[in-house]
């Protein structure tokens, strides 16, 4: 795959609603992950035994993003607050207090929205957007994965 093609692909993905794209052919393996303001790109050569296979690589690339389009449409006005780490999700500062935020509350950038605990380290998660909480996507005290959406925020709310 040529550098220009990779660049075009990154541009396409950064303008789409996709958070992560993985493409694998006989020739190469490409993994692009979108963060809030950074992109990580990894291109790996395939195993030497497969190097001879002359597959026309870029073809599946163009076809790939289309299935994700409806999902983008559905929540296009909303922004997700995602988990920056693996851990346990808590909505309250301690077991007998009120939730940091509830549906309908307005949050501002930098405001604490939840706690994620991992191996006895407790992390207050700051919102990176301002807006209205539309949905809480995880139940209190449930495990969460890296990059898992936690809240849906309406930035216009």
């Amino acid at each position: 795959m040529k550098a220009k093609e990779i660049q075009d692909l990154i541009d396409f993905i950064s303008n789409s609603g996709l958070a992560e794209v993985k493409i694998e052919t006989d020739e190469f393996k490409l993994s692009i992950k979108k963060h809030a303001d950074a992109q990580a790109v990894r291109v790996e050569a395939a195993a030497p035994t497969q190097a001879a296979a002359p597959a026309p690589a870029p073809a599946p690339v163009a076809a790939n993003p289309s299935p994700a389009a409806p999902a983008k449409e559905e929540s296009s006005n909303y922004v997700e607050i995602k988990s920056p780490m693996i851990g346990t999700f808590y909505r309250t500062p301690n077991p007998d207090s009120d939730a940091f935020v509830n549906v309908g509350d307005t949050v501002s950038k930098g405001q604490t929205v939840c706690i994620i605990e991992a191996m006895k380290l407790f992390n207050e998660i700051e919102s990176e957007v301002s807006g209205k909480i539309v949905k809480v996507l995880v139940e209190n005290s449930q495990p969460v994965e890296y990059d898992q959406p936690l809240f849906l925020v309406d930035p216009a709310g």
Partner: protein
């Protein structure tokens, strides 16, 4: 009561002393939000009335006898998923300070200091403020039993109970904070491999068989700690399992 630390470069130059407070971690968090503290600030009290251990559990201490303080750091160079490094460095600083007093003191995973025949002498409660990219603030809450002799439950001890000697709290604080500074600078420099090796080296029951319970009692040995901070335990069968907090209990 506590003097500004003279033996450090940038930690402990701003000390907020309270004769009594509910929890130094809570107070540190409030002070961060009011922008009254910065990297290296210490919130310390003689008497903590609502000290916290793990979520919901209490840390009990006799007024004026122990070190109960919170140190504020800004490890913005650290990605959120690398935060277990903070546990490692604070434990190593505690271990280095305390093992000079008694060689039987080890790190008990994930972040307690433990005397092999007397029990727990120190607990750490780390609370961070993080965003998607980095750890913005870290509050390292340390409860170290120093001169207290009576404890309401077994399996807990203090430095005086172990050594028989009264220890000067101010001197111990300054020793400890200078060690934290040393390990924090190693972390900042990116010496992950060295830190990891040292942490494993001082870990109680590392590469030693002991009894555990994960629902069933079994014999296992800790063979590693992964990036998330989970311990990897090998069973007699050769099976290797990664355990988080509360997923496994050390029996003896």
């Amino acid at each position: 009561m506590y003097k500004i630390l003279a033996n450090t470069v940038f930690l402990g130059k701003d000390i907020h002393f309270m004769t009594e407070c509910h929890s130094t971690n809570d107070l540190a968090m409030e002070k961060i939000k009011r922008k009254e503290v910065s990297e290296g600030s210490i919130v310390i009290t003689q008497s903590q009335t609502k000290g916290r251990g793990q979520r919901g559990s209490q840390w009990w201490t006799e007024p004026g006898k122990n070190l109960t303080f919170s140190l504020i750091l800004r490890p913005v160079f650290l990605k959120p998923h690398k935060q277990f490094e903070l546990s490692k460095i604070v434990c190593l600083a505690l271990w280095e300070t305390l093992s000079a007093l008694d060689s039987q003191i080890k790190i008990k995973w994930p972040n307690d200091l433990f005397h092999q025949s007397q029990g727990k002498i120190c607990g750490v409660l780390i609370e961070n403020i993080i965003n998607q990219q980095s750890v913005e603030f870290s509050i390292m809450g340390i409860g170290l039993n120093v001169n207290q002799l009576d404890f309401p439950f077994p399996g807990v001890s203090s430095l005086k109970k172990i050594s028989g000697e009264e220890i000067d709290l101010n001197h111990l604080l300054s020793e400890l904070v200078s060690k934290i500074e040393k390990w924090y600078l190693l972390l900042k420099r990116g010496d992950y491999k060295f830190i990891h090796g040292q942490y494993l080296g001082q870990l109680l029951y590392f590469q030693e068989w002991a009894s555990y319970n994960d629902g069933e009692t079994f014999e296992g040995k800790i063979i590693g700690v992964n990036e998330e901070g989970k311990i990897i335990v090998e069973k007699r069968t050769g099976e290797q399992v990664a355990y988080g907090i509360k997923e496994v209990k050390l029996l003896a």
